[in-house]
Symmetry: C2
Subunit: 474 residues, 2 copies
C-alpha cells in the first residue's frame, strides 16, 4: 500500500498536484510542446469517445443532426455581434498568413461557432417550413488562456456545440432547457455526477445570450465546476446576421436561436468528483476497461486458462486480462490508478473452489463470488456501482452545500468547509462583484429550486430578489 501512496500526491495535502499526478500517471494525457495544449493519450481519448457516444445518441433521439463548420472565422464576422466579440476577442488566436502570403483579412481560429452557423442559417432558411433547424458539431475550439490545466482549461479543447433556429422565442427557450435536461441526465446516468441546475446571472451569462442555463457540479476540494451550459439567444444574432423567414401569415420575421455546449471539462469533473488517493475512479459507462482480470500465480497449471475463460464469458463488457510479467501487487496499483471499476483476482485456490475475488474500485470492497453466471454478476455489479457512485457524490454535494445569511457566515464557510453557498441576493452586479472581490466566490447560478432564506441581500441588505448559489470555481 505504501508504494501506491508514494506514487501520487495526497489529495488532502495538495489537491492541484494530486490532480496533475492523476491525469499524468493514469496515462490520460501528456503535455504537448505547445503552451496550454495537451495530448489526449489512448486511455484519456477513449473516455472522451465513450462520453461522445452516449451524448450523441441522446442528441439523435431528439432529432439533432451533426454537421461540420470550418475552423476559421473571418475577423469582421466575429466582430459583427457586439456582446459576442467583447466576450471572445481577448481570447482569439489569429491566422495572418497562409501559403507564404499575408492574408488580406486575418482569420480567427473559432472560439465558438455561433457566427458561422448564423451565416449558414441565413443561406438555408427562407420559410417557416424550414424550421426548426437543430444542428450539432463535435470539434475543437481555441481560446487563448493564461493559465491552463488538462481538461479544465486548455488553449485548444474538444467539445460539442449545438445550434438551433426557431420560429418563436418560447420554442428556442424550450430547446435550451431540453438540452439542459439532457446534460443533467448524462451527468447522472453516465458520469454518476449530481448537479445544481439554474440560470447564470447577467454578469456570468454567455456573450450574446438572453438567458444562459447551466449545470454546476462540486469537486472534492469544494470548488465548483461549470459543467455544461445552454443558451437562449433570443433573436439578437438573427437580427445581426439577417436570418429571416416568412411565417404562416407571409410576414418576414427574424429567427430565434439556442446554442449549447459541453466539453472535455466533463472528464475533469469525473476525476475530481470520484478520484481518490489511489488515482482515478471511473464510472462504468465511460471506463475504457470495465473489468480487469488479474491472474494470481499465473504460471500455475490452469490459471491462465480459467482467466481466459472468464474473459470470454465477459465479452459483453470491456474486459482486459493482465498477463504481464509483473507482481499482482503492481498490477493492482496500476489498474487502481487507471480507475477500472472492477478487478477480478483468480488463482489456483479460487479455481479449486470455482470462485474468484471481485474488488470494487470505488469502495475497495472485496467479495468472493462464484464463477457460475459470472457475466450476470458483473452486469449487476456494474449497474450497482454506477448508482452507488452517484449516491455517494450526491451525499457529498449535500454535505458541501451550505446556507449563509451573513457575510461572516459566508466567509467562515469558505475558510473552513468550502462548497456551494446558498444566499439571498438583490441581483445587482455591484454586490456580485464586491462579493467576488472580497471572497473570490462568484455566483454559480440562480438555481431552479428557489428557497427563501431571508428577506435581504447578503451583501447590501437591500430587498433580496433571488437565492443564488455562490462558490469558488474552476
Amino acid at each position: 500500500m505504501q508504494k501506491k501512496l508514494d506514487a501520487i500526491t495526497d489529495m488532502n495535502i495538495d489537491f492541484a498536484q494530486w490532480y496533475t499526478d492523476v491525469v499524468k500517471k493514469s496515462e490520460m494525457v501528456d503535455y504537448a510542446p505547445i503552451k496550454g495544449c495537451v495530448i489526449y493519450r489512448p486511455y484519456g481519448f477513449k473516455v472522451w469517445e465513450l462520453i461522445q457516444k452516449e451524448l450523441d445518441n441522446m442528441f439523435k433521439k431528439v432529432d439533432i443532426e451533426n454537421v461540420y463548420m470550418p475552423l476559421f472565422i473571418p475577423q469582421h464576422m466575429l466582430q459583427k455581434e457586439k456582446d459576442h466579440i467583447e466576450g471572445f476577442a481577448p481570447e482569439v488566436a489569429l491566422v495572418t498568413s497562409g501559403g507564404d502570403e499575408n492574408l488580406e483579412e486575418p482569420l480567427c481560429v473559432r472560439p465558438t461557432s455561433e457566427v458561422l452557423f448564423c451565416h449558414h442559417f441565413s443561406n438555408i432558411i427562407q420559410s417557416y417550413r424550414d424550421l426548426p433547424i437543430k444542428y450539432n458539431q463535435w470539434c475543437s475550439v481555441v481560446r487563448w488562456e493564461k493559465t491552463t490545466r488538462p481538461f479544465l482549461r486548455t488553449t485548444e479543447f474538444l467539445w460539442q456545440e449545438g445550434h438551433t433556429a426557431h420560429e418563436t422565442e418560447i420554442e428556442a427557450d424550450g430547446v435550451a432547457k431540453q438540452m439542459l435536461d439532457i446534460y443533467t441526465t448524462l451527468f447522472k446516468d453516465v458520469l454518476a455526477i449530481p448537479v445544481v441546475r439554474g440560470r447564470k446571472s447577467e454578469k456570468e451569462k454567455f456573450a450574446g445570450a438572453v438567458t444562459t442555463y447551466t449545470i454546476e457540479s462540486i469537486m472534492k476540494d469544494g470548488k465548483a465546476l461549470q459543467s455544461a451550459t445552454s443558451h437562449n439567444l433570443g433573436n439578437g444574432f438573427g437580427k445581426t446576421f439577417d436570418i429571416t423567414f416568412t411565417d404562416k401569415n407571409n410576414n418576414l420575421n427574424y429567427v430565434y436561436q439556442s446554442s449549447w455546449g459541453a466539453s472535455t471539462r466533463m472528464i475533469g469533473a469525473v476525476i475530481m468528483v470520484h478520484g481518490d488517493n489511489n488515482g482515478l475512479v471511473l464510472p462504468p459507462k465511460i471506463a475504457p476497461i470495465q473489468v480487469v482480470i488479474v491472474p494470481i500465480n499465473q504460471n500455475k497449471d490452469g490459471v491462465l486458462e480459467t482467466a481466459t475463460n472468464i474473459e470470454n464469458s465477459l465479452e459483453n463488457f470491456r474486459t482486459k486480462i493482465d498477463v504481464r510479467d509483473k507482481t499482482p501487487g503492481f498490477k493492482f496499483s496500476d489498474w487502481e490508478m487507471k480507475g477500472v471499476p472492477i478487478r477480478i483476482e483468480i488463482g489456483p485456490k479460487d479455481i479449486a473452489e470455482n470462485k474468484c475475488v471481485l474488488v470494487t474500485r470505488y469502495s475497495g470492497e472485496k467479495q468472493t463470488v462464484s464463477l457460475e453466471n459470472i457475466a450476470k454478476t458483473i452486469e449487476q455489479k456494474l449497474e450497482e456501482i454506477n448508482i452507488s457512485m452517484y449516491n455517494n457524490a450526491k451525499k457529498s454535494l449535500n454535505e458541501k452545500t451550505h446556507i449563509a445569511t451573513t457575510m461572516d457566515e459566508f466567509e467562515n464557510i469558505l475558510n473552513n468547509d468550502p462548497g456551494f453557498i446558498k444566499a439571498m441576493w438583490c441581483e445587482s452586479k455591484v454586490c456580485e462583484e464586491k462579493i467576488k472581490e472580497k471572497t473570490a466566490a462568484s455566483t454559480r447560478c440562480l438555481p431552479e429550486e428557489q428557497e427563501k432564506l431571508s428577506d435581504t441581500c447578503i451583501f447590501c441588505g437591500d430587498t433580496a430578489k433571488v437565492m443564488a448559489v455562490f462558490a469558488k470555481s474552476y
Copy 2:
C-alpha cells in the same frame, strides 16, 4: 424526366459543373464564407460519419488506438525534418497572435501531424517493451490551396492520420502495407470502388517517406484520384526527433515508423465513380437513408398506414418515409438526387395485391415485390446493390485502363478515351517530368501487379525498369 435533367448539368457536357451541381443540390455541402472551406451539411456529414465508423472498426480490429494531438505545431518543429518542411511549407497557415498579443514564435496550423507524434513518441518510448505503438487520430488539417473543390481539395479537410512506431523497418513496412490492405477493403466492401494498388515514384512520394504506397481510383471523366496513402517512414523521423529505444540486447536504436491517411476525398471518389445525370448514387453502407418509402395517393385510405407498416418492418435499415405534400414525381427526383439506394413506391393498387414497387437507384430497375418478408427482400437487395455497383465500377476501370508503348499512343489515349495508361518507364525523374509537361499526365503509381509491355522507357527509349500507371489526376 425532363425536369430532373434540367436541374443539374449533364456530366457528359461539363463534368466539373455536374460535380458542383451534385454536391450542392444533394445538400451535402454549402460554401463557407472562408475561401476554400466548405460546410458539411447533415447529409454530407452523415456519409462521412458512416465511412468513419466502418474504417474505425477496421482499425480497432488490428489494435490501433485513437488519440488526439494539438491543432498547432511550433514553427521550428515543423522545420526540423528537411524533406518534410520542403513538402509542406508552401501550404502552411500561420497563427501569429493569440489573446491580443503577438506570439514569440508563430504556430503552424497542422497540415499533418508527423512531428507532434514524433515528439510524443520520444517522450513515451524507452524500451522495446513499449513497441509497437499504433495510433490514429480523426481530425481536420489545413493546407493552403490555390484552387479548391468540395471534398477533393479544400483548405481545411477532415481525415484520419495513423502513426506507428516499431523496432524494425520490416515491421514498419509491414504495417504500411497492412493499412493499404485495409483501405483497399474499405473501398471495395464499403464504397464499392475498385482501385489500383502500388507505390509512388520518388517524385510523388510523401515528404519524408522511404516508400509511399497508394490506392488510385478512376473517375467517370477518366481522371485518376489518389484515394488513400500509406508511408514507410524508415527511421528518418526517428533520427531527427531522437526517438530511441533500448533493444533486447541493451543497445540504443532509433524507431522505425509508418503513417497513413484517408480523407473526405473518399466522398469525392464515391460521387465521381457512381454518380449519374440524376445526381448522387450512394453505396448502401454509407447511405444516410438506405430505403425511402414514397406513398402514392397518400390521402387514400390505408396508404399511409401500409407505408408506415413497411417502415416499421424495415427498422434494421436506415429507412425514411416521405409524407411531404409534394407529388410522387417530385419526391422520386429528390431522392434520386440524394442517391438513396432503394425506393419503395406503395399505392392503393399495390396494397390490394399485397405488393410494392421497388426501384433500384444505381440501375433504375423497377420490380414489383411482395410485402411478405419485405425486410429479407431489402436485405438481399442492398447486398446485391453493393456487389453490382462494385462490379460495374470494376468493368469501367478495366475499360478505362489502356496500354501505351509509344508517346503517340499515350497522347491519343489521353485525347480520345482518357483513363489509366500502363507504360514502361526508366524510373528517371527527368522522363517523368517531361511526360507531365507534355501531356499533363503524371505517374499515379508503380503497380504491385507488374507486366512487361516492352523493354524500353516510353519516353527516352532507355532500358525500362518498371511498368508505371500514368493518368491525369485530381
